[in-house]
Amino acid sequence: MPLLEMRDISKRFGSVQALEGVSLELEAGEIHALLGENGAGKTTLMNILYGLIRPDTGEVFLEGRPVRFRSPQDALRARIGMVHQHFMLVPPLTVAENVWLGDRKRYPFLFRRRDAVEATRRLVERFGLKVDPERRIEELSVGVQQRVEILKCLARDARILILDEPTAVLTPQEVEELGAVLRGLRNEGRSVIFISHKLKEVLELCDRVTVLRAGRNVGTLPIQEVTEKRLSEMMVGRELEPPPPRARVSDQAPVVLELKRLSVRDDRGAMAVRELSLKVRAGEIFGIAGIDGNGQAELLDALAGVRSPFEGSVRLAGEEIGTTSARQRAALGLAVITDDRQRKGLVLELPVAENLILKRHRSAPFARGGWLLREEIARYAEEKRRQYDIRAASLWVPAKTLSGGNQQKVVVAREMDLLGQALVAMNPTRGLDVGATEFVHRTLLEARSRGAAILLISTELDEVLLLSDRVGVLHRGRLFFVPPERTNRVEIGRLMLGEGEAA
């Protein structure tokens, strides 16, 4: 008998059927992945399990007995714990405090600090989670913070842990460590539900996988029986396109983007990018791989015109642009897709149409004499909507109402239209599902075939390998070129960790 069974769950929100007749089974001692695109219903299903929402139909059985959770308290009492994508920890407090505060059963009146620290230490040892109970959350890395979240669940003796996109914020090293922790829990007979987009990690870490698509359960399979390709196709509902052939760009192609000994400081004054030199030719994609935090953000800022370089030059088609403003660079045809569409790419409160014309909002055809030409803007926005299939209630509602994928389409549409010769894109598919990711990749490749020079900065190694004609690795601000014969995951992974130098 399975430990947990969710039978025939349906849920409707207004006009949207979020879940329809979904069933899920979880055995004791298994790591079960829940895969699906954004909007497929994974989060809704888990919110129902965790007591945050009530289902319209269907039942939940725990060890064969029907249960009804009216709130997370009920779920917790039934030993179900959840680790959300955005942690719910209090940064100035210590690990022990975060784990035990609020546990009125244990500490009904006074919070006994030493007792809590001891209890936390016992948990740490028991589950092998390597956390110092007395450190403050704000001093800890994201990977360790996640372990604290898991500890919180284990402190309540959770036998089912729901992890929502746990690897989104981890380094490859930390992903391995998480895998070890989860396997330990599994071997004890506990179960884990692993919500994720990251197919590779699902294949590495999980025992079984359930794929949801458009609110329905498309299939539950043991890991041995699936491949990445099969899972993608199940998620999207159709066959995916084959990976693009690598372009052979001749040395005769003009150099469009050239960086010479570029050095950029970060916000704290440290040198985040060190004497970086590279050339990107027309019709090629140069991919920069690397673990987040090695200078990518500062490099992007310097190229976007938002951060002045400390030293060095940036040339676009031979012209020095290192000190020009963001606006001037847009006018020169440099397109920029930032890594954070909500903070850097879009003004969410403004309507979609206005976001589509940002960077070009001061000139024809969208403005004249200081006045915005509304019909022109509306016409242009409608054209983009059709061209990129942007799903929005209206082009004049605030951009924040759009889903992540559609928001990114707005950014991509805008940048593609101002793209003259060069494009810099950082993590362009962050947070996007398979369909949207495929779309962005296709758009980049089209730009390449039209002769644009593309600099792709991505912390997703697979994306870099998939799209790039040439590859470099950014480590502590320095760029290491990877020769074609060494362009594979293992070699690049080593460079990302700082081991060894490229020839």
Partner: protein
């Protein structure tokens, strides 16, 4: 006529706002009853002071006028990223500068009024510019600097009114503006002056600026997301400056309009008017939308006028009760916003 999409997005917030107003009114009526006032008499007095009589209309619109202009000043500032709490001080500085010139010159009205308006707006704008400069060049939060500047403005007016501009020693008031320096009266029997027409025009112009010009687009972008604005090539500091100058200018203009329309001179009491602070409530109720401020100011004007009527015979409701209503309004509209936000968890 099909409503453009931007307008039909209004209906929800409008309904909610009306709901807030009704709730506050109901609560106040409840208070009145509980404290022993005759409900019918109160309602009758309120009606007489607002929509029921000619002088009610006059009182209502005249009271709304300064609130409309200062409300616009606050709304545009808040919407565009500058927390201008200094509308009060900017109002006073505008009125002061206009008074100083207005009582010492005499020009024909067609030249005099524009000059005074210009001086008032200039005074308010420069007063706001001080805070803007501090913010842009030294990172001083304008929430602080504008409030402190308010105090300075108050003292400045008090000084002028008991010193250089004092008409007769000991009276603590300035001379009055000559007739050509006053706004034309729309209705002799009430206080209704031309400013009541100017204010909505200003609101309409502001709406056009914010939503139909490139400058307006940049200001709104900076107000919502300065980071993205920067990446889009928009200058955050330039736009913050623009916003503060515009906001201060509007508040200063409000001061002159009130001066030339109603006050005609300054007294110690001028520093107690508090329009700049009430304007914050006006702006919030209007959800920071220029056209919404028209309705919101009107409502507050009605409140002021109706309650003043209630403070007379036969009901004699004290002013404090009206302050309670205002407070309730603010609490409910802000409180509603908080409740709304916490339910809108995506």
């Amino acid at each position: 006529m099909r409503l453009p999409e931007a307008v039909s997005g209004w209906v929800g917030p409008l309904v909610r706002t009306v709901g807030v107003i009704l709730a506050a009114l109901l609560l106040t009526l409840g208070l009145l009853v509980v404290t022993g006032y005759d409900l019918l008499d109160c309602l009758r007095a309120f009606w007489a002071g607002t929509f029921g009589t000619r002088y009610g209309w006059g009182g209502m619109l005249t009271a709304a006028c300064p609130l409309l202009l200062t409300g616009l000043a606050v709304a545009i500032a808040f919407r565009c990223g500058a927390l201008n709490i200094g509308a009060e001080g900017q109002f006073l500085v505008g009125a002061l500068w206009a008074t100083a010139v207005g009582v010492s010159l005499s020009l024909p009205r067609w030249a005099f009024l524009p000059l005074l308006f210009f001086l008032g707006a200039l005074g308010g704008a420069l007063w706001a510019a001080v805070a803007a400069a501090l913010r842009v060049w030294r990172g001083v939060p304008e929430v602080l600097s504008t409030i402190l500047l308010n105090f300075i403005a108050v003292e400045w007016v008090k000084y002028a009114v008991t010193g250089p501009l004092e008409i007769v020693p000991g009276t603590a008031q300035t001379a009055e503006l000559p007739a050509s320096g006053r706004l034309w009266m729309l209705d002799r029997t009430t206080d209704l002056h031309g400013g009541v027409l100017l204010a909505p025009v200003a609101a309409a112009l502001l709406y056009l600026l914010l939503y139909r010009t490139t400058v307006g687009l940049e200001m709104r972008a900076v107000g919502s997301n300065p980071t993205a604005a920067r990446y889009a090539g928009i200058s955050v500091s330039a736009n913050l400056f623009r916003t503060m100058l515009l906001s201060g200018g509007l508040a200063g203009f409000a001061g002159v309009v009130e001066l030339t329309g109603r006050m005609y001179g300054l007294t110690q009491g001028s520093t107690d008017l508090g329009y700049g602070y009430t304007a914050i409530a006006v702006a919030m109720l209007a959800r920071l939308h220029p056209l919404g401020v028209i309705a919101s100011a009107w409502f507050f004007g009605a409140l002021a006028s109706g309650s003043r009527e209630m403070s007379f015979a036969p009901t004699y409701v004290p002013d404090q009760l009206i302050e309670v209503v205002r407070g309730l309004m603010i609490l409910l509209s802000i409180g509603y916003g908080v409740v709304e936000l916490s339910f809108r968890k995506d």
